[in-house]
Amino acid sequence: MLYVAGVDVGSTQAKAVVLDEQAHVAGEAILDVEMNMSSAAQQVFDLVVASAGLTPDDIAFTVATGYGRYRVTFGDLQVTEISCHARGAVAEFPNTRTVLDIGGQDTKAIRIGDSGEVVDFAMNDKCAAGTGRFLGAASFALELPLSELGPLALKATAPVKITTTCTVFAESEIIGHLAKGRRPEDVLAGMHHSIATRCASLVRRVGLTPEITFTGGVSRNAAMVSLLRDVLDTPLNVSAQGHFMGAIGAALYALDHARAGTPGTRRASVEEVAP
């Protein structure tokens, strides 16, 4: 049996999947990225291989993606997460024409062509507002785990308006609202709305063409899914595997190469990190 892997090393988490020859997920793993991206990549790879009941030698081809893709020293090929999220999204929702991926510090809107190819993309520039990091600030200020933010925000009855677009200042704005007696769920709903508005603007920049598929770690947040549907005024495809979409896309590219028997162009090394 042929197995391939996709390893997505992002700014906050490393995700990995193993696919079998039929492109079925044989294993998946996730862990937080701390100081060393290379060791995080190695660890998540070891975890995913073990979760599939395999050994590293069983993996015919590995594609690395995410900001840390050049840190994946065992990767056979590097592909950006833009292409990988697009590939993963189209594989699960073939009619996808727009992908919105909200990650830890990057938000991407990707326009997809009729053949599933990336036609255009837009990303947040020079600022992490409208990304998962914005929710991280809320999590820190409210002393709540990330996973509880969405469910709590859904209970809001009088959402506040968050005016700052700065992720750092957002924390003090949250504290300010709480000090004025606003309820945490109302403050959180305001935070979510702020992110949704910025993301919607990014989506419009590449052209809001249905179907829209929402990927990335933040796609697990039910409040964000609901708000984005409202702001964009359109249904959204959301996968149960949304968090792994980049890794799945990477693994699909790996499968192409493994099936075709084409060699990789291993470019990664610890030294080859952008200055």
Partner: protein, 432 residues
């Protein structure tokens, strides 16, 4: 042996360019010793031809500022201006120049930039006018602002012979006459129209050669990279505009580039994608940016910067008529502004034409923190070329010289993704 000859030839143009830049800086440095008057000018709308007639030594503060970026010295100068009270949002060229003023005009090139006897600004950039006011205050030198009428609306075209065109031309000509009077007062020399005709004839020859050099890059493979080699070319041609030395350099350069075309030598070893760069450079990391594209086999075959930052030399159809030098200077100054420099909201047609002429596979837009005005038109422009021509485009953002706005990992990510788009597109089209 042919390769050796080529190397020697290549060295010739590069060495000639470097020699001219060094000579210009040395001339600037020593101008006060010689008692030569000094004028500060911008690269756009500067009436350099008149200043040459009166023997001014030219200082280009924009080039001084970009050089702080190229020489990795910009942070010190920017910090001085910001410590003084300038906002981080102010144009980094202005701040680097203010930093220079606060550093007793000691430029990192080793040149002591002399104070101006005259400064010329124009209405082609709103910051120019404020910047010239800073010089006026700091140096006590007179600033002369050329008010050049720009484009009125999208479908408007300046048509010689119409009443509007004549009014615009007369408006500019009147200002040039005022400038001449001011130059006469400062230098004590009388205006010599024959000398102006000579300068204009040199500019004409430089324009002719420059257009030829730009056109040679339509060939595949492109003999030079517009955003690396091209930037050094325009530096020389701005500093030596209208001079015999400038003409000689351009001729040498043209021969060198034509030689590369004849031998089929490309800037990139394996040219895979031909690109157009729209916007201003990021001088602080230009080499790195070009490297990010060239490692994928992408070459910037053309750039609108090589036209509007080349002192109006973009106006390929615009040549001076040295038999009526002042009137002709007014005409070309006005038309260059209206056709080439002030129409960034309507530049999509020009860009679309460049895409055809240079057989471009994509366009890269570079927005800069220093100038939101320049970046304003890019969204419209992108939308036009992507929907009308289905051409892949990439928008990246940094700054002219402020390294704080350069985020290497982010930019590399976007560039890599852009090439994946180009590769996918080529695959679908069955090419490359």
């Amino acid at each position: 042996m042919a390769a050796t000859t080529h190397t020697a030839k290549a060295m010739d143009a590069r060495a000639a360019g470097q020699r001219l830049v060094n000579q210009w800086l040395a001339n600037v440095h020593s101008a006060p010793e010689r008692g030569q008057p000094v004028a500060y000018v911008f690269v756009m709308g500067n009436a350099v031809e008149i200043l040459r007639v009166f023997g001014f030594e030219l200082v280009f503060p924009e080039i001084n500022s970009l050089q702080t970026g190229v020489r990795k010295a910009a942070p010190d100068f920017l910090a001085k201006a910001e410590d003084y009270g300038f906002s981080p949002d102010v144009c980094s060229y202005v701040k680097a120049d203010v930093g220079l003023m606060l550093s007793d005009m000691a430029h990192p090139s080793g040149t002591r930039i002399p104070r101006p006897d005259l400064a010329i600004a124009s209405s082609l950039c709103n910051v120019y006018i404020k910047w010239a006011e800073i010089w006026e205050r700091h140096f006590g030198a007179p600033a002369f602002v050329l008010d050049i009428p720009g484009k009125r609306f999208a479908t408007w075209k300046p048509i010689p012979g119409t009443a509007q065109y004549d009014a615009d031309k007369r408006w500019v000509e009147g200002q040039l006459r005022d400038l001449i009077s001011q130059c006469e007062r400062i230098t004590g020399k009388k205006f010599d129209p024959d000398r102006l005709a000579e300068v204009e004839a040199n500019v004409n020859e430089m324009v002719r050669l420059w257009v030829e050099i730009l056109t040679l890059n339509q060939r595949r493979p492109a003999p030079y990279n517009s955003m690396l080699d091209g930037l050094t070319y325009i530096g020389v041609l701005n500093a030596w505009r209208g001079t015999p030395e400038g003409v000689e350099y351009m001729r040498l350069l043209r021969d060198e580039v034509a030689g590369k075309v004849a031998r089929g030598e490309g800037r990139v070893r394996q040219e895979r994608f031909r690109l157009i760069f729209s916007g201003t450079p990021c001088y602080v990391n230009m080499r790195r940016l070009v490297e990010l594209f060239e490692t994928h086999g992408g070459v910037f075959a053309a750039s609108d910067y090589l036209t509007y930052a080349a002192g109006g030399l973009d106006s390929s159809g615009l040549f001076y008529d040295p038999s009526r030098p002042l009137e002709s200077l007014a005409e070309v100054t006005t038309l260059a502004s209206q056709l080439g420099l002030s129409n960034h909201f309507f530049s999509h047609h020009t860009l679309a034409q460049q895409v055809k002429d240079y057989a471009a596979d994509g366009i890269v837009y570079h927005g800069i923190k220093s100038c939101r005005t320049v970046a304003t038109s890019m969204a419209d422009n992108r939308e036009y070329v992507t929907t009308r021509y289905g051409l892949p485009t990439l928008y990246i953002e940094s700054d002219l010289i402020d390294p704080r706005y350069w985020s290497d990992a982010q930019i590399k990510n976007r560039v890599d993704a852009f090439f994946e788009v180009l590769e996918q597109r080529a695959l679908l089209k069955g090419g490359k």
